[in-house]
Subunit: 145 residues, 2 copies
Amino acid sequence: MNIGDAAKASGVSAKMIRYYEQIGLIPPAGRTGAGYRVYTQTDVQMLRFIRRARDLGFQVEAISELLALWRDRSRHSADVKRLAEDQIAGLRRRIAEMESMVATLDHLARGCSGDDRPDCPILDDLEGDRSLVVPACHAGAGFNR
Amino acid sequence: MNIGDAAKASGVSAKMIRYYEQIGLIPPAGRTGAGYRVYTQTDVQMLRFIRRARDLGFQVEAISELLALWRDRSRHSADVKRLAEDQIAGLRRRIAEMESMVATLDHLARGCSGDDRPDCPILDDLEGDRSLVVPACHAGAGFNR
DNA sequence: CTTGACCTTACCATGATGGGAAGGATTATC
DNA sequence: GATAATCCTTCCCATCATGGTAAGGTCAAG
């Protein structure tokens, strides 16, 4: 199977398959005499695994660890679970940050007449002085990416 | 005021100030005879504006529009409100995506024993075959918890 | 044997940010 | 005033995962 077929079968673009090989996420594919990469059903299965992990927001580094566990028949499911929970925690952290932004924006937008007059609490707030950030809740905060 | 002072006063790093100038988000700063950039209080205020907008997740492109409206004394607050609402909508979209990931991961992790045995529904799911993605929706209702 | 679809590598771009090097300017200390 | 420390300048590189393009080789069908 050529790279294009593997791409179609796995949902990972040919471009990304080459990239994953280049960075060592997947082992180098076999090659035909002419240099074409060749893929087996097993390779496609691995690519689909990567695709699904990516869809769950895992970064390549984490996917690499997941793949290693997948291949390790003597793995401990605790290790897999920990990766999943780390991922959940990271997602929740980012969700909380964004929810805090939404709360602030929503608060500001609600106070904006949204007509043809120039007065606007949104700009007033960005302009500073006031600290803004809807007292909201709590929300986590910070930043970090 | 030199760039370092402007950075401290605005919360935007010197590196980013130069970058914002380079991409045209802010006008070129004045220069001393020796080529040092010089900043006024007005410049610092603009940088703070940018910093706050960035903290609310606005992209540079949107910040550019916000700055234009900020400077336009005959602006219509409706235009500002629209930018804010677009931002809210974008954030909510991303939040929804991530919540969907969390729902799926949470569902899978809950089914994983997390001990020293290798069996793991998380890997089974990534492996494929089953479509996974917690049917979800959220639904708050029902299902577990 | 030509055409078109596919493959290869190599380079560039993204967005916002940081790091570092090489060298000049300014400031503080002796 | 000399020297050292700090600041500034520009330029280049790296991130992360992805896409685009270009130049050229390969393969299968007509």
